[in-house]
Amino acid sequence: MLTLRDIIFAVGLPAVWTGVVLLIAWRPWRVQGLPPSGFWSGPVALAGSFLWAFLGASGPPQFPPIQVTDWLPFIAVVAAVIGLADSTLEIPRGVKWATGCLCIALATWMLIRPLPAETHSQTTKLSWLAMRAIVWGGCWIAIERQAIKYTGSAIPRDLLIVTSATALVLVMSASKLLGLLAGSLAASLAVFVAVGYFTSLSMARGSVLVLLTLLSGLLICGLFYAFLSRPNALLLLLSVVLTALSRLGRLGHLQGWKRHSVQLAFAAIPAVIAVILAVTDFAASMSEGSGDYGY
């Protein structure tokens, strides 16, 4: 059950915050032809939305963090700072890729590290770290390259599908907090899509890094600390991977409805399957006789 507070902090404030920041940065009313200069707004909008949702759901985070989820707002701030540096400075490409991958790897380690040694050995943790850093780092590089090339609402739209599905699946995987945090990113991305229709909004140079770092972090928390099933975690990851692949090679040359259909299908099919599986599992647990539990 979503309370009024949940709706305000996880949907309303993120949407308003993102709207204000994006409009200031991308100014739909500006004279056409001027070079875009609003790259900085994406990291600010996404990280800010995430922080609003965290504050509303859980209050100010403890520092130093004790509970694993208390790392998430600090990860959001660090990713936003790296994103802002990328959006405002001319960073050599190699340094940019290395810094972004390091950011994802560091976030992964901060979230895996608190698992007790009795249940997860150091080797297991390092294996997960390596695997996730490679996969999510690869996805970030692929989507970032697309975002440099394609502006407007298409990329935010595909990422909105993945993020909305993640929010729904996490809520049904026994963590309302994680669901609300993913929901705040979805609310923010919905505004990206709207603003993208009227401007040359770009998610390059910071936004994609912040989003994927946080999305990856939420899935780690869901998988290791809540009850996100492995098939659903894999399907949501597949949705991100296919989004990263949907504009590569021959697919990048498709035009019109074919291009949009392929991009939508790549992002949506695994995401929708994950939502269906989560809903089915949730419904099955309610029919076991323990009654409806709507938070």
Binding site: V68, K176, A226
Partner: protein, 193 residues
């Protein structure tokens, strides 16, 4: 010579007698918690309306009781993922990072640091409660609920009651729908070690 033999025999008999019927121990009686007959129940207010009760099913530990309360001590461990509220989804939610975060904090523990007598039957047990990765001193009102024998061993029962604020332990989620104060009852049955 006969006197010496008689004296030695008497001494041996006396020693043997002492060995088979030891005098009451001067130290406290130590009990191992019987997890099957021990319970932990908690109560929290839901939506500012009704009191909701849940329990933990896995309790272990030990306690010692002495006529001098200062020599008594209590040590309890509870497995976080044994939380049981008669609803599978709610149990999962309680085990998630929203509340107890059982994967990161698999154990709730209490260790007494000071025990003192208060009026009537009860004793005040001060100790460190570790919950959700945070350790804080708390005071529990403990009463001895009985003693007896079972399967050839002496047993004793105690019950502790305490109230904590979950926010003190970093459990701040759902502040608008669940009360901050949590009333806890821990009932222990222990078999003498």
């Amino acid at each position: 010579m006969r006197i010496v033999v008689i004296c030695c025999s008497a001494l041996l008999v006396a020693v043997a007698s002492l060995a088979s019927n030891p005098r009451p121990s001067l130290t406290a009686d130590a009990f191992q918690v019987d997890s099957v007959h021990s319970s932990m129940v908690f109560r929290v207010k839901h939506m500012g309306t009704a009191n909701f009760y849940g329990r933990f099913n896995s309790i272990s530990g030990s306690f010692s009781l002495d006529d001098d309360p200062a020599k008594s001590s209590f040590q309890v461990q509870i497995k976080t993922d044994s939380v049981d509220t008669a609803n599978t989804k709610r149990d999962q939610h309680l085990k998630s990072p929203d509340f107890f975060n059982a994967a990161q904090f698999p154990t709730i523990s209490f260790k007494s640091t000071q025990v003192k007598k208060v009026g009537g039957e009860g004793i005040d047990v001060t100790g460190d409660l570790t919950l959700h990765g945070v350790t804080k001193p708390v005071i529990a009102k403990v009463t001895k609920t009985g003693s007896g024998g079972s399967r050839g061993r002496a047993i004793a029962g105690v019950e502790a009651q305490l109230t904590i604020k979950r926010s003190d332990f970093g459990m701040t989620f759902a502040a608008d729908s669940l009360g901050d104060e949590v009333f806890i009852i821990i009932s222990l049955e222990g078999a003498k070690q």
